[in-house]
């Protein structure tokens, strides 16, 4: 063969090779896919695992964190623009998926909902290494030996789980809780008592953990996933503080199973990407990683025989050999009734002061959205769709501001005591009639709200200030607000809802100082209001 011939063969060969490479590239690569997944906040610490996968798979994964009820509601409405759902419990997919759009759902990991109690407190209560019932917890809380936090049962799965557990326990551990139990005052009275001992609520399990760490000295215990209690303990150890001891209430235990499901809209590329991600999370390597992060991932049962004892520590009350026997959840109808009953009767009432921005920049869209958001919360038939109805013990106050307090001289006219639907609707109508104008004074109006709260609040209620603004303070006194907060007991969280050109640098210090939270309402004000209300 001549050199020329061999070279042309070479050329031909490389041409074929290039074509082949090109063909392979086309079939396996292609344009990048975006997966949008809405998940429970307890999965936030797992996001690095997901993003690492995304980077190596030419895929963008956008994670959004919401409460279980919001995830269920979102599914009922067609799943918005999400491609995947990852609530803490399969129950919420079943509840929400009335249109049958969720496919391929598979449990990624398990975690029981437990009570984490500071070890010394658990010890003084005699709870180490023994079976603890809901009754024991009630007694301890009522004798002021136990100050505990839990999330809202109507917003978050861990709160709902503990609530179902309490219903089961105080109904005397029947085969299953039925509608009759919900009508039995002997049962509901005790459930109301234990819920009345909740010292701080929240709309999400992840935030509850942050709050517990921030206000460590104010609380003794929290209801959360075993996995989150383990994370909390790891943080406590790092800062040299006493860890929590895991109590698995024997008559009120539930297990979260974290199913990841795909919202099917007939897009093949997305489905393929989703299944690849799910397969990755279920792979042996990642399952071992998850186990190392305190999630239970054994193939069979929920045993911990292969778990690392430096994560699942026996001295934290995590007994690998314990047989976990959760309660049977009530039927779907009874669950729905129970959630409504929680909201309107059994939970601790809320004392809420809304501080609403009616400055000039709110005109047009902002004002309309704000009014719609307040309508959602105050109109009881809309509020019910989100389990946000009022309780007879609620106190609701609205403060309107621009550079001044617009309704300063008639605050009582902007207040509703109780949950009469007509009164609340009337308040909503009053808000509808306000029009915006003027500058923005966030600091002074927030201080007024905190002052007002100390007059309005009842011993029973959980207080919160919900501040909504679209701008930057240009006339208020920030240090006066800070001095005020520091001079009081400071147990009134400020939940700030950002809108328009609101400045998180101004809002962050207020919420941090009062152990509140910022909600971003810039893309969806109504949802932000709902979420903020869910924290109260």
């Amino acid at each position: 063969m001549t050199r020329k011939a061999s070279r042309s063969f070479c050329h031909f060969g490389s041409a074929v090779l290039i074509i082949l490479l090109f063909a392979t590239a086309c079939s396996s690569g292609g344009p990048s896919t975006t997966l949008r997944i809405v998940s429970g906040s307890e999965n936030r610490p797992l996001e690095p695992i997901i993003q690492e996968w995304a980077r190596s798979h030419n895929t963008t994964v956008e994670m959004t964190y919401q409460g279980s009820v919001d995830i269920a509601r979102l599914l009922q409405n067609g799943g918005a623009s999400f491609d995947g759902v990852w609530p803490a419990n399969r129950l919420w997919i079943d509840f929400g998926d009335t249109q049958n759009i969720v496919r391929h759902d598979a449990s990624i990991m398990r975690s029981p909902v437990i009570l984490g109690v500071k070890r010394s407190i658990a010890e003084s209560l005699g709870w180490l290494n023994r079976d603890v019932t809901l009754s024991n917890i009630l007694t301890a809380a009522e004798s002021d030996d136990l100050r505990f936090m839990m999330t809202s049962a109507t917003q978050s799965n861990s709160g709902a789980s503990f609530y179902f557990g309490a219903l089961n326990a105080f109904a005397g551990s029947p085969e299953v809780v039925t509608g009759a139990h919900l009508e039995d005052s002997a049962v509901t009275e005790q459930v109301e008592r234990i819920l009345g001992e909740v010292d701080r609520s929240s709309g999400s399990s992840g935030f509850l953990k942050d709050l517990f760490l921030q206000q460590y000295d104010r609380f003794d215990a929290m209801v959360n996933y075993e996995a989150v209690i383990i994370e909390t303990n790891q943080a406590l150890l790092r800062s040299g503080r006493e860890p929590l001891y895991a109590i698995y209430p024997v008559d009120g235990l539930t297990i979260a199973d974290s199913p990841l499901g795909y919202i099917d809209r007939g897009e093949e590329a997305k489905e393929e990407a989703f299944l690849a991600l799910q397969q990755h999370l279920l792979s042996e390597t990642v399952q071992r990683q998850l186990l190392a992060q305190g999630r239970r991932t054994s193939l069979l049962g929920i045993d911990l025989s292969s778990a690392d004892r430096s994560v699942f520590r026996p001295e934290w009350g995590i007994d690998a050999d314990r047989l976990l026997q959760p309660i049977r959840l009530p039927s779907r109808e009874v669950i729905e009734q129970a959630l409504n009953l929680y909201q309107i009767a059994l939970r601790r009432p809320s004392c809420t002061i809304y501080v609403l921005d009616f400055s000039g920049s709110m005109a047009e869209r902002g004002e309309a959205d704000l009014k719609a958001a307040m309508r959602t919360l105050l109109n009881q038939s809309i509020a019910q769709q989100y389990f946000l109805q009022g309780h007879p013990g609620d106190v609701t106050q609205v403060i309107l501001f621009n550079e001044n307090i617009i309704n300063q001289n008639e605050l009582s006219r902007w207040r509703v005591v109780g949950s009469d639907p007509e009164d609340l609707l009337h308040l909503s109508r009053q808000i509808e009639a306000v029009s915006s104008g003027g500058n923005t004074n966030i600091f002074d109006s927030t201080r007024l709200a905190l002052e007002e709260m100390s007059r309005l609040r009842t011993p029973e209620c959980l207080p919160a200030v919900i501040l909504m603004t679209d701008g930057q303070d240009n006339s208020g006194d920030r240090s006066a607000l800070e001095r005020y907060v520091d001079s009081r007991e400071n147990d009134i969280p400020v939940f700030a809802i950002m809108f328009g050109s609101a400045d998180s640098e101004q809002l962050d210090p207020i919420v941090a100082r009062t152990y509140g939270r910022v909600f971003d309402g810039r893309s969806d004000l109504v949802t932000a209001f709902r979420e903020a209300k869910g924290y109260n």
Partner: protein, 369 residues
């Protein structure tokens, strides 16, 4: 020297090109211009999803029969009620669906326009955990047969489930668990396996015979009492099985479900087979009911699929990888191929389900507020 090197190089390139032409090109060409396949559209119950997605099944249907199946997952009973005029076939997982469908299309069935055949079978069984099974064997409720599989007398089982109040776990000899003895099913109003267990339940209440409509009516309160004691029930057989496996004995002591699910699970986790088999057991109710999978062919394309599914290799894959026993005469399902213990070669004690009208009346009664 140089020349020789060039020659060697050319030969390598030549070999590569030949390799490309002979080995890869046909596949590439095939991918670019696949041969025309007949698409069969079908309603299929979700339990056959994995079988129809199995790459070997897809390949065999295409290569041997020129077929590809395009299906929507539809619940068995629902298949009988929704508009099927646009599909070639229906493939539910029980005979009630067939019965309902036939009653609506009797003429087409009589004229041969619609034909059907039971392709697969899977018995309803109980799944449970070793400590519990041992305790119940000791108590004599579960019986280990000489062949090595475990059975339960269905009449006795149902008697325990209908006793008021139900016996506690401790009373039936299981000390590890508190609360009442129970068998958990998927939601009978939404899922086929749950529905079938209730059918079996009704037969036992009718004295161990196929429950007539009268017998069914008479026993509705007992069925409803059992139903109401269950609380939340999973919407599908697959989900119930998943939760059984991964939440353990405390959450799901005993469930009723398809035999095929455990076989499929073991095939998917071959490397952990011993661990699975040492913890999870199948208990065969005597008698039990068949979940039959009749393929109802409405068109020529549907009939081609029906014909194709008789393929011995496909039937073998169905058993060995997905746990479906053959519904066809003359095909045997050898459990030794699976190298699993505790699975009988044949299910001999089977009772037919109550008639569809009885099942429908039962569902209406259970769903009443």
């Amino acid at each position: 020297m140089n020349n020789r090197l060039a020659l060697v190089r050319s030969l390598i390139v030549l070999a590569f090109v030949v390799f490309v032409l002979v080995v890869l090109l046909p596949t590439i060409i095939q991918q670019v211009t696949p041969r025309t396949l007949t698409t069969v559209t079908c309603f299929v119950g979700s339990e056959k999803d994995d079988f129809l997605k199995n790459p070997e099944v897809v390949r065999l249907l295409a290569d041997r029969y020129g077929l590809e199946v395009s299906y929507s997952r539809v619940g068995s009973i629902e298949q009988a009620f929704i508009d099927s005029s646009q599909v070639d076939c229906l493939w539910p997982s029980n005979t009630s669906a067939l019965e309902i469908y036939r009653s609506q299309h009797q003429q087409d069935f009589d004229s041969g326009g619609i034909s059907y055949e039971t392709i697969f079978n899977s018995p309803i069984v109980l799944f449970s955990w070793t400590p519990l099974v041992q305790a119940l064997v000791d108590q004599g409720l579960f019986v280990v047969q000489p062949e090595g599989y475990t059975t339960v007398d269905t009449t006795r089982l149902i008697e325990l489930l209908t006793r008021t109040p139900k016996p506690t776990w401790a009373e039936v000899g299981v000390d590890e668990l508190f609360g009442s003895f129970n068998v958990i099913t998927s939601d009978p109003a939404r899922s086929n396996s749950g529905n079938m267990f209730y059918g079996l339940f009704a037969n036992m209440l009718a004295g161990g015979q196929v429950a007539s409509l009268e017998a069914m009516r008479e026993n509705l309160p007992a069925l409803r009492a059992y139903y109401e004691s269950q609380g939340y029930m999973e919407e599908s057989s697959g989900i119930l099985f998943e939760r059984f496996v991964n939440t353990g004995m405390g959450a799901h002591p005993i469930i009723a479900n398809y035999e095929s699910l455990l076989i499929e699970f073991i095939v998917q986790h071959r490397e952990q087979m011993d661990a699975v088999l040492s913890q999870i057991h199948i208990i065969y109710p005597t008698p039990t009911v068949w979940s039959s999978h009749p393929l109802i062919a409405r068109t020529d394309a549907g009939r081609k699929l029906l014909e194709a599914l008789r393929d011995e290799r496909l039937q073998q894959i169905a058993w060995e990888q997905h746990g479906f026993r053959s519904g066809l005469l003359g095909i045997e399902n050898d459990p030794s191929i699976l190298s699993l213990t505790g699975i009988p070669a044949e299910i001999t004690s089977v009772i037919p389900l109550p008639r569809a009208e009885g099942i429908i009346e039962m569902l209406d009664f259970l769903r009443q507020p």
